[in-house]
Symmetry: C2
Subunit: 346 residues, 2 copies
Amino acid sequence: MDETNKVPVGTVPKLADVARVAGVSTATVSRCLNLPDQVKEKTMRKVMDAIDSLGYSPNYSARALAANRTNTVGAIIPTMDNAIFARGIQAFQEELHKSGCTLLVASSSYEEDLEEEQIRTLTARGADALLLIGYHRQPRVYEFLKKRRIPALVAWAYNPDQPQLAVGFNNHAAMKSLAREVLERGHRKIACITAPTGSNDRARDRVLGVKEGLRDAGLDPDGLTIIETNYSIENGAQAFQELMTLDERPTAVMCGNDVLAVGALKAATEMGLKIPDDVSITGFDDIELASVAPVPLTTVHVPHRRMGQFAAQALIETLDSGQTGESHELPTNICFRGTLAPPPEK
Amino acid sequence: MDETNKVPVGTVPKLADVARVAGVSTATVSRCLNLPDQVKEKTMRKVMDAIDSLGYSPNYSARALAANRTNTVGAIIPTMDNAIFARGIQAFQEELHKSGCTLLVASSSYEEDLEEEQIRTLTARGADALLLIGYHRQPRVYEFLKKRRIPALVAWAYNPDQPQLAVGFNNHAAMKSLAREVLERGHRKIACITAPTGSNDRARDRVLGVKEGLRDAGLDPDGLTIIETNYSIENGAQAFQELMTLDERPTAVMCGNDVLAVGALKAATEMGLKIPDDVSITGFDDIELASVAPVPLTTVHVPHRRMGQFAAQALIETLDSGQTGESHELPTNICFRGTLAPPPEK
DNA sequence: ATGAAAAATGTAAGCGCTTACATTTTTGTT
DNA sequence: AACAAAAATGTAAGCGCTTACATTTTTCAT
């Protein structure tokens, strides 16, 4: 009895098993999978039949090792637990999927060291390219990426002065124009609730945007009251309460994102304050929460899904062409809803 | 001049380079990395110095191929673009990280075929284990997983009748008890807005829960008006409008999740209906949106973060011990807020 | 029919790591 | 100091795939 096309049972079939069953060489099987138009139709059929009957699927680790590419893109985001990243990343991965790439996601919990660790991990796992959020990180990280020739793309931020490939928006300019709107309505006592700005350039740029708005209006930017707290509704609420107990109570509270703003809104309601009559509140991002809040939030709209798509395209282009694609600045716009009005008459 | 500890420049250092620089064998370097207490402290130091000076980090593909494990867990979720998955997955990955595992995420967009494809892809990429959402999938998929000996865990659902390892909650029972509350308040004309139930067992179980509640109350479950639509605020709003133009207008609308419910709430406001005086609305999940909605939503609270944590623990236990861990049912509870009240007097 | 070019297929050498087994070094007795 | 046992290290064979190069088969103009 001919044993040549017998295959071990109870184990995961490998490419060599397919080759044996199909009666061809391993190279041919590999070609069927990777360069299908280099094989004859008849051969292809035999191989495909063998693959189906064995339930074979290739081992990507072996493939990655042999071919030195993984068709995997890594993304390191601060947290999935924020609609803006979740949404953008969802779009990013849908777009990648179209090009046959898989996404590897890790999150840094807004911690710089953890982000660096994750970058090394994803690189070691063979990510062909990386999506990173914001510009801020140690120079050694950028050097590492350069040395490894791993294309990296910065998203959620765009700064023409920075050399990195980026797809994002200008946090500074967007917040500045929102600040201008606030100032134009007559507010003079403004406060900010922001995420810690130490290693978060988006948050920092937004605060700087407000300060520059103040300066342009002839006001002292150092007079700006700022509370730093992590993104969460609860923290937003607490920060707002603190602000309201200040001697110089602000008439407008500009928040670093919608989550904080909704928290502020909630605290305001609990304190019996009318928004926007007593205090104005603004957000940033325009997540769903913003439009269904008890008082719909005036905020900066950011095209998160489109950002994810563009980012994927830029990365794939870089990967395919071998040369860095073009950075892309996305527009933001202010959504005027119900939380911004002139300050109360004294 | 001694050339033995020279190393090629301009390339990615590999383990052999580390060995050469440190003056030890490749096996020793490998052990420093994987079995650190099998090497002498002095050796360890030499090796670590070499690793630092070269900027070495191991190639996971090679490691996976040689060791036949990847320390990677895959998760296939319907979409990241829904707070419940984003939040649960975030917790899942934080927990995995503690055990040195990386998470590979893919999303199926609620499409059964795509999910199957993703399962094969993640398996091929060497996921040691898989997190799946809900029970519903082709038997061949479960067979495939079994043959490959890939532990899989079902989350977001728990059904004692199903054999799979699961960490989740009883969608049917949770929704039934919510229905009971609705019925007890006197509602007799109830409608559901749900996600398509064809390949979504969670959605299906929730609807069945309502039907059983109806039956228990002596009502005809087939009389239940059901609108199936994809999860989104807009779709929820539209479905609610449709329901309100029906001849037999329902007095309570039970939604498959909070996103639909918030949409319904929005539509109600636009139509000038008072919630809960004119119509009651209920949700499911208890995402942030639910508590900050214009009328805080009465909904079923699901412990998403804890589910993610438990799921990670169960999977790691399975991986470490080699035998299937224990399923775990998480409790849900009803959050009574502002959208449920008795029907209006006629 | 014939032969050269083109197309299809085969052979076999790695890719960078882990690990069984072999060898050397250290430790702790006596 | 000598020896066995234990600890540390080294040697080398793969893991499952891709791909350069070699060989065979097919195609097509003559």
